[in-house]
C-alpha cells in the first residue's frame, strides 16, 4: 500500500530531526497523537499540533505521560494509527503501557528523544542511555522493536518504517532519537506519496461470531478489529486466551507469552536493519547507532586511511539485536569489537553476550551531555 497523499509534504526541506519525525508520522498515516511536553522531544508534538487540524488528525496534550501512553492504545483500537512522544523521564512513566501494548498487541509508536539521565538529568543534552530500558523497562517477558535514526532524513524515513513494523507485528515500536538527531537541522527529502510504502493494518475478514481476537496462523500475528464494528471484543492486560478473555493458568500464560516473544524473535531477520562497511577484510569492527555512529564513522575512516582493517556496523534497528551477523564475524576473522555509545556501557553488554568470548569486546563509554571525540574511538581501534 502507498501513503495517503493528504499530509505528505513532498519536496526538499531543511528540518530538524524532531520535525522530520513528525512528518514521517503523518506520511505513515498516523492520525492520533497524545503527548505531554518534555525536552528535547516537544518539537515533534508542537509540529503535530499545528499540522493535524488540516490533515484530519487529532492531537491531545494529555495530563501526563501515563495518560498519553494509554490514550494511544485506545486510539489504535478505535481505528487510528497512534503515537506518543517523550524523553527519558516520560519514558519511565510510560513503561507500564509499553507492556500493556505488547500484551494486548496494540500497534502504536513510542518516540523517545533521549537526553542525559538518570532522573531529570540533562534535559537539553544528548545521551543514548535508554537503550536497555526500551528493551527491558516494563515488567514480564515480552519483545518490542526499537529503531535509532542517525540523521534527519532517517528521522523521517525510519518513522514511517516504525509505523509499518508496528502494524505488521502488532507490537509497540520505540523510535529512539537522541537529542543531537532531534535538534540538528539537515536536508530532508520527502518523496511523493506513491513512493512511500505503507504497511496496512492486518484487519480480519471474518464475521462477528466466527472471529477470535487472538487467533493466529503461522505468522503468529492475530488479525485485528476496531471498536464500533460490532465484534464486541474484549482486551485486557491480564493473561488471556484466544477470545481475549482472562485465563489465569500456567498453560495459557506459556502459550501467550511465548507467542508474544516468538512473533518478534522468529521474524528477526525481517525486522533487523543495519548498514555495514568494510566487513570483508575487517579484524576489528565498530558497532554504533544514532549520533554516535556518525562520530564512529569518522574514526573508522581515520583508521582505514592508515591501512587498519576496521569494519563498521551501523544499527538502524537496535531491538531485536542483529545477533547473527555479529556471531558470524566473531567466529571468523574479527578479533575485536569496539562499541562506542552515549552511556556507560549498555549495548556493549549485548555484544559481549553474542560474541561469547570469541573476540575481544571494547566499550567506549560516555556519560552523555555531548558526543564522543572521534579520537576517543580511534584510540581503541
Amino acid at each position: 500500500m502507498k501513503a495517503d497523499k493528504e499530509g505528505v509534504l513532498t519536496g526538499n526541506h531543511f528540518l530538524d530531526g524532531d520535525h522530520a519525525c513528525c512528518e514521517g508520522a503523518i506520511a505513515a498515516g498516523c492520525r492520533f497523537v497524545a503527548g505531554y511536553p518534555i525536552t528535547p522531544s516537544t518539537e515533534v508534538v508542537e509540529r503535530i499540533a499545528s499540522r493535524f487540524p488540516l490533515v484530519g488528525g487529532i492531537f491531545i496534550q494529555m495530563e501526563d505521560e501515563i495518560a498519553s501512553s494509554i490514550a494511544i492504545c485506545g486510539g489504535s483500537w478505535a481505528g487510528k494509527k497512534s503515537m506518543t512522544v517523550t524523553s527519558g523521564p516520560g519514558l519511565s512513566l510510560m513503561m507500564e503501557h509499553i507492556g500493556y501494548a505488547a500484551m494486548t498487541e496494540t500497534p502504536c509508536v513510542f518516540v523517545d528523544v533521549q537526553r542525559g539521565g538518570p532522573s531529570t538529568g540533562l534535559p537539553t543534552m544528548p545521551a543514548q542511555a535508554d537503550i536497555m530500558q526500551a528493551r527491558w523497562g516494563s515488567h514480564g517477558d515480552y519483545e518490542i522493536i526499537a529503531l535509532a535514526p542517525n540523521s534527519c532524513q532517517e528521522a523521517f524515513d525510519l518513522t514511517v518504517h516504525a509505523f509499518n513494523l508496528s502494524e505488521k507485528y502488532r507490537v509497540p515500536v520505540l523510535f529512539m532519537l537522541d537529542e543531537c538527531v532531534g535538534h540538528m537541522t539537515e536536508k530532508v527529502v520527502i518523496p511523493e506519496a506513491d513512493e512511500i510504502e505503507i504497511e496496512p493494518r492486518k484487519m480480519t475478514n471474518k464475521k462477528p461470531g466466527e472471529y477470535l481476537l487472538y487467533e493466529t496462523d503461522d505468522s503468529m500475528v492475530p488479525e485485528m478489529v476496531h471498536a464500533g464494528e460490532g465484534y464486541n471484543f474484549h482486551i485486557t492486560g491480564l493473561t488471556h486466551d484466544e477470545r481475549g478473555y482472562p485465563n489465569l493458568t500456567v498453560d495459557t500464560q506459556a502459550k501467550l507469552v511465548r507467542r508474544l516473544c516468538d512473533k518478534i524473535n522468529k521474524n528477526a531477520d525481517d525486522i533487523i536493519m543495519y548498514e555495514d562497511f568494510h566487513l570483508d577484510d575487517a579484524d576489528t569492527v565498530v558497532i554504533a547507532f544514532g549520533i554516535t555512529s556518525r562520530i564512529a564513522q569518522h574514526a573508522v575512516n581515520m583508521a582505514r586511511d592508515e591501512g587498519k582493517k576496521v569494519g563498521f556496523i551501523r544499527l538502524q534497528v537496535i531491538w531485536p539485536f542483529p545477533e547473527q551477523i555479529i556471531r558470524e564475524l566473531a567466529g571468523g576473522n574479527v578479533k575485536k569489537f569496539v562499541v562506542p555509545e552515549l552511556n556507560l556501557g549498555q549495548l556493549v553488554l549485548e555484544v559481549e553476550r553474542v560474541v561469547a568470548g570469541q573476540a575481544e569486546v571494547v566499550s567506549v563509554p560516555h556519560a552523555g551531555g555531548t558526543v564522543h571525540n572521534p579520537e576517543d574511538i580511534y584510540e581503541k581501534l
Binding site: 492520525r31 492520533f32 497524545a34 487540524p53 488540516l54 484530519g56 487529532i58 491531545i60 494529555m62 495530563e63 501526563d64 501515563i66 495518560a67 498519553s68 494509554i70 490514550a71 494511544i72 492504545c73 485506545g74 486510539g75 489504535s76 483500537w77 478505535a78 481505528g79 487510528k80 497512534s82 507500564e96 503501557h97 500493556y100 476496531h226 471498536a227 464500533g228 464494528e229 460490532g230 465484534y231 464486541n232 471484543f233 474484549h234 482486551i235 485486557t236 492486560g237 491480564l238 478473555y245 482472562p246
Partner: protein
Amino acid sequence: MGKTDTLNKTAEVRTPAENPVDKYLRMDRMPHIWCPGCGIGSTVNCFVRAVEDAMIDIKKLAIVSGIGCTGRVAGYMNLDSFHTTHGRAIPMATGVKLANPEMNVVVYSGDGDLFAIGGNHFIHAARRNLDIKIICVNNFTYGMTGGQVTPTTPQGIIASTMPYGNFEHTFNLPFLAESCGAVYVARWTAAHVKQLTKSMKEMMSKKGFGFIEIFSPCPTLFGRRNKIADGLEHMIQFKDKCKIKKGASAKEATFDPDNEIVLGTFVNTERKTFMESMNDRYEKVFGPKYVRYGEE
C-alpha cells in the same frame, strides 16, 4: 443460557423469556467473580436497563474499566470492552472517543481506581468536558487486594491498612466532579435501583462529561471488618440512611455514616464539549478549509 431447560419456572407454565440483560452480558463468563452480597452486579443490571431505555446503539457503545472488582465490569459486558491498567480507564476512554467520535464511551470503575491512582485523569477529563460517562461504584475500599483504605473510606472505618480506623479526610466526589466541570453529576446507591437506572439513562442521553457515584456494599472486606453482617444489611442501611433530595448542591454530598446521606442529581447542565470547542476554534482560525472533526 437462558433456554427453557436452565430456567426454573416458578409461576404459570408459559414460554419462558430470556433475561433481557443476557444479550448485553458475556453469559459464557458467568457466574462472575463478585462475592455474594456485592452490589456491583446490581449496578450493572441497572446500567444495562438504562442503555436499553436510552435506545443506544450497542454497536457504538464501548466500556472501559480499570483494575479492581469494579474493573471487571468491562469483561462481563458484551460490548467493545477495554480492561485497562490500574487507574487509566479514563485516558484509555479518551483515546477511544477521540479516535472514533461515533462511539459512546462509558468508564465503569471503582473508587480506588478512579480517585486514588486515577484521580488526575478524572479532573482533567472533566475539565475538558470530554464526551465520556463515568460510573464509579464506591464500595469505600480496595476489594480485590484485600480491603485497604481508599480516598473515600469514611473516617473511623477499619481497613487493612488502617487497622486502628481511618483518620484521613475523604473526597466528596460529586463536589469534586462539579468543580472540575462535569455537566452531569449524581449520586445513588446500589439499593436505589429505580432511581439509578433512570439517572443512568439521563446521563447516557446527554453530551459531555457525566459522573454518577454509586455506593455499594463490599461485605467481604468492608462489612466484615466494620460490623456490617452482610451485603444485605449494608443495602438496608443505604435505604435507611440515605435521603433523596431534589435540587441539592453537590457540596452537601458528604458521606458520614452516622448521619443522613444525600442522594440525587446535583448537576445537569450544558457546556461545550472538548470536540465542539476544538472544532469551533479551528473553524474560526482556518475557515472553510477546516473539516470539522468527528461530525458528518
